[in-house]
């Protein structure tokens, strides 16, 4: 199960940003461990884990809304090229600025590798809507971020 750890971390980072991602990751896997033994053998692990991560992200977002905001924006991090832990601050800001549905669709499709019908099952709405949300999100990211490269 922890073979999916890096994938889930990418998704949590994209959806929540670096600060809350690790809490969401831990919560996701703890929750997964709880329900894992009862899981049907043919369960699609990626989709299942992303579904849990999605719920955890909603919890975190709600909790974040309730608590006083002490960090107005993503903490600035010095660029240390080549270090894998480095964060691309621009990309994160751009992701963070997307509407929730678009950010989720982009994360679940491009970072978790789920097909659009599975993305739609997680986020609600139709497959076409998920595809459009991801495309809109990518277009915005490209305009605000990718195009500058």
């Amino acid at each position: 199960m922890t073979a999916y750890g890096p994938m889930v971390l990418r998704v949590c980072r994209a959806v929540l940003g670096p600060t809350d991602a690790e809490d969401a990751w831990s919560e996701t896997f703890l929750s997964a461990l709880k329900s894992y033994p009862g899981l049907p053998a043919d369960t699609n692990m990626e989709a299942w884990l992303v579904t849990i991560a999605h719920r955890k992200a909603i919890d975190v977002t709600r909790a974040r809304a309730r608590r006083p905001v002490t960090v107005p924006e993503v903490p600035e991090r010095p660029s240390r090229a080549g270090r894998p832990e480095d964060w691309d601050g621009d990309l994160w800001s751009a992701l963070g600025a997307l509407p929730d549905k678009q950010r989720a669709a982009v994360a679940y499709h491009y970072l978790a590798g789920l097909p659009y019908h599975e993305v739609a099952e997680i986020t609600g709405g139709s497959t076409d809507a998920a595809r459009r949300a991801a495309a809109d999100g990518i277009r915005t990211l490209r305009a605000g971020y990718g195009g500058r490269r």
């Binding site: 922890t2 750890g5 971390l9 990418r10 994209a14 831990s26 270090r83 691309d88 990309l91 990211l141």
Partner: protein, 201 residues
């Protein structure tokens, strides 16, 4: 040139080893605290190769040589015990320390809680007797069969040794052929000779 989504997420896609290890450790601690860590495992580098050691809450449940294929061993543990298996070295600190002492000839017997759930019936009876064979001593398969209560079950003793889920700690390497040759071993005959030599040196 347009940047594709995959390239654009390149920096996000990298989950570095340090972060992964930190998150994994944190998960193992939290899972243990909530009673969700059914099997903890780690690997150890020893003079007889890399060993996989795994423990339930009851005790050490599996010791596996590299030739047994650690991935396959973990998959079997998932099926036989629980799929809630995590790399969680802390639960195996005592196991690691005692094995290290054993290989350094500073320990002659293991003082560890053992979980025999992977072994049943006659095989389990054999394993129970094996623990009574002292450091540096050997018994023949026939002698073990007698001691386990089935004098004619010599071959079954061989099978019990070959399928011992806890080699080293339950010393099946101390069971040798009646002619004095070492006989087969779950870790390979060469390893069996190394262990017997270590204990008689």
């Amino acid at each position: 040139m347009r940047t594709g989504p995959e390239e654009m997420f390149g920096t996000l896609a990298k989950a570095d080893d340090v972060t992964a290890a930190r998150l994994r450790d944190r998960l193992a601690v939290a899972a243990d605290r909530e009673g969700l860590l059914d099997v903890a495992y780690r690997t150890l580098d020893t003079p007889v190769g890399t060993l996989l050691v795994a423990a339930t809450e009851q005790g050490l449940v599996r010791v596996a040589y590299a030739r047994e294929d650690h991935d396959a061993v973990l998959a079997k543990l998932a099926g036989a015990v629980s799929p809630r298996i995590l790399l969680a070295p802390r639960r195996l600190d005592a196991v690691a320390a005692q094995l290290e002492e054993y290989f350094a000839r500073r320990r002659r017997s293991f003082d560890l809680p053992l979980d025999f759930r992977l072994s049943h019936g006659f095989r389990r009876a054999v394993l129970a007797h094996l623990r009574e064979i002292g450091y540096g001593h050997t018994e023949s398969y026939a002698q073990v069969a007698v001691a386990a209560g089935s004098p004619r079950a010599v071959r079954a003793v061989g099978t019990a040794c070959a399928t011992n889920p806890l080699p080293l700690v339950v010393p099946c390497h101390r069971v040798v052929r009646s002619d004095g040759s070492s006989g087969g071993y779950v870790g390979g005959e060469a390893v069996k000779r190394i262990l017997l030599a270590l204990e008689t040196a």
